[in-house]
Amino acid sequence: MKNLRTFWTYFAILAVCLILPVIISDPYYHSVLVTTAIFVILALSMDIIVGYIGELSLGHAAFFGLGAYVSAILTKNLHYSFWAGFLAAIVIAGAAGYIIGFITLRLKGAYFAIVTLAFAEILRLVASNWINLTRGPMGIPGIPFPKLFGWELSSGLVYFYLVLFFVLLSVILIIRLVNSPAGRAFLAAREHEDLARSVGINTYQFKVLGFTIATMMAAAAGSLYAHFFRFVGPDLLGIYYTSTPLLMVFIGGRASIAGPLVGAVIFSVLPEFLRMAGSLRMVIFALVLIVSVIFMPQGIIRALGNLRRRKKEDGLTQTEYAG
């Protein structure tokens, strides 16, 4: 029965995602939806690192931005198709992620965070200064829209469905990964590294694997971002694209599918709602974040789960008294 309910929950969420953009006709809100979906992918990939393998990456923007730049340069300058650029972005960022992970995941805790932070900063400086390739701070405008069977995906509505497809793919990837020996090895390495090694898990190797997969997903998100906004600049490698998915994961709840999803939706939709508060918008938003972190340190998803469990237990004791 529980499985059936989970199925219907997912089904309902998917149905809302499919219908919502049709009901909302304003192109501005279409772009909000697309951004939200891209951030969902970015947050899901961040969760592999901070939730499952239990490391703190402060350089996720490096792989998001790298994906965006690779895709932009290949399609704009070299006239490759979107799909070739998209795949190349994933492969190149994945290779960079593998190298960074291979070198730094031997380090523990803060050292790993510092190296990833430095890597993102180096890439941002390269993008700002390698004028011949990236046009520096001016960025690369006019990136072509993706084409699917010769049909240009130029409207926000259609683009949203494209991103939604990759969101679904990411969710399936993570569910399957987590429910496999590799995913369990991630959790084992996070929970107790020595014990994990004592049952034959090469924890280092699995951390590198998880980190590489996460960087590939971030690059996919970056490529999708580049082809929707049709502009990339050094800002995409800045701290905003690291801190935002990080906050989304922490506010939603780590090591889950629902956590980053909810986190990303709240983060993208709430500021839009708060527009009615005028100039106080960001102040209120910051307050909401602070309050949620103080009262729900495990994230919204787990706080809700605990609430439901407590209600159930209350119900039980009441019937016991009645009996």
Partner: protein
């Protein structure tokens, strides 16, 4: 050749020699005890055997293969699986998940198999889940399988540790003070468990302070003192060894049977 052969194993930490040219051999199918007063080098020896420490010199040969320089996880894959002195669990995960992680090396499928959910992957997964159920049944934790490991009682947690180790199909199981903190009733149950494991064909190396347990289950015992092996033999021989009585108990009192 013996199942596990340790030759002139030495480990120095800076100027301190924790283990000095210790040699012994464990035969297949026996329960071998390693005892000694605090600081005798038992834990060091244990960590060297499992690869958690690298020896300064000496050799370790397991099942005819040299394992001296292999990393810890690679030894676990060969069947050398350990438990820890301080309770070590994946405490945030469920009892079932804990043991399932223990089966890691038994999975033959690849990452691609897992992502595309191939037939072989699903078959492996199903077999391993059934195996986890069996192990939980064996250590009497089946009813608790969905609880978080951290919520178990102390005795149950120690049983779960052994269950995790068993999930990896150990050929040589190393138990580091499994009875630490157990009451006499729990220790007696542990003794039965160790004998049951032996009858399943698992060779066991045991580090323990609790004499009743050591004397009750071990076929042979080696005694360490200040990093040197001072005696080896059956419980009977060790119990009557003058030197063991002198260094281990510091007086002429007899080690209880």
């Amino acid at each position: 050749m013996a199942f596990l052969e340790v030759r002139d194993l030495t480990k120095s930490f800076g100027g301190l020699t924790a283990l000095n040219k210790v040699s012994f051999a464990v035969q297949e199918g026996e329960v071998f005890g390693l005892i000694g007063p605090n600081g005798a080098g038992k834990s060091t020896c244990f960590n060297l055997l499992t690869g958690f420490l690298k020896p300064t010199s000496g050799r370790i040969v397991f099942n005819g293969e040299e394992v001296t320089s292999l990393p810890d996880y690679a030894r676990a894959r060969m069947g050398i699986i350990r438990t820890f002195q301080h309770t070590s669990l994946f405490s945030g995960l469920s009892v079932f998940e804990n043991v399932l992680i223990g089966t890691h090396c038994c999975h033959r499928s690849t990452l691609g198999g897992a992502l595309f959910r191939t037939k072989n992957f699903l078959k492996d997964e199903q077999q391993l889940r059934a195996k986890v159920e069996q192990i939980l049944d064996f250590v009497e934790l089946k009813e608790k399988k969905d609880l978080p490991a951290g919520s178990l009682s102390y005795g149950e947690q120690r049983k779960l540790e052994i269950a995790i180790a068993l999930a990896g199909d150990p050929k040589l199981l190393l138990l580091d003070e499994p009875a630490a903190g157990m009451n006499p009733a729990e220790s007696r149950k542990l003794m039965e468990l160790i004998k049951a494991l032996q009858s399943r064909g698992i060779t066991i190396l045991l580090v323990e302070h609790y004499m009743q347990l050591i004397m009750g289950v071990c076929d042979r015992i080696a005694v360490l003192n200040y990093g040197v092996k001072i005696a080896e033999g059956t419980p009977q021989e060790v119990r009557n060894n003058e030197e063991v009585i002198r260094v281990y108990l510091g007086s002429r009192t007899k080690i209880p049977a």
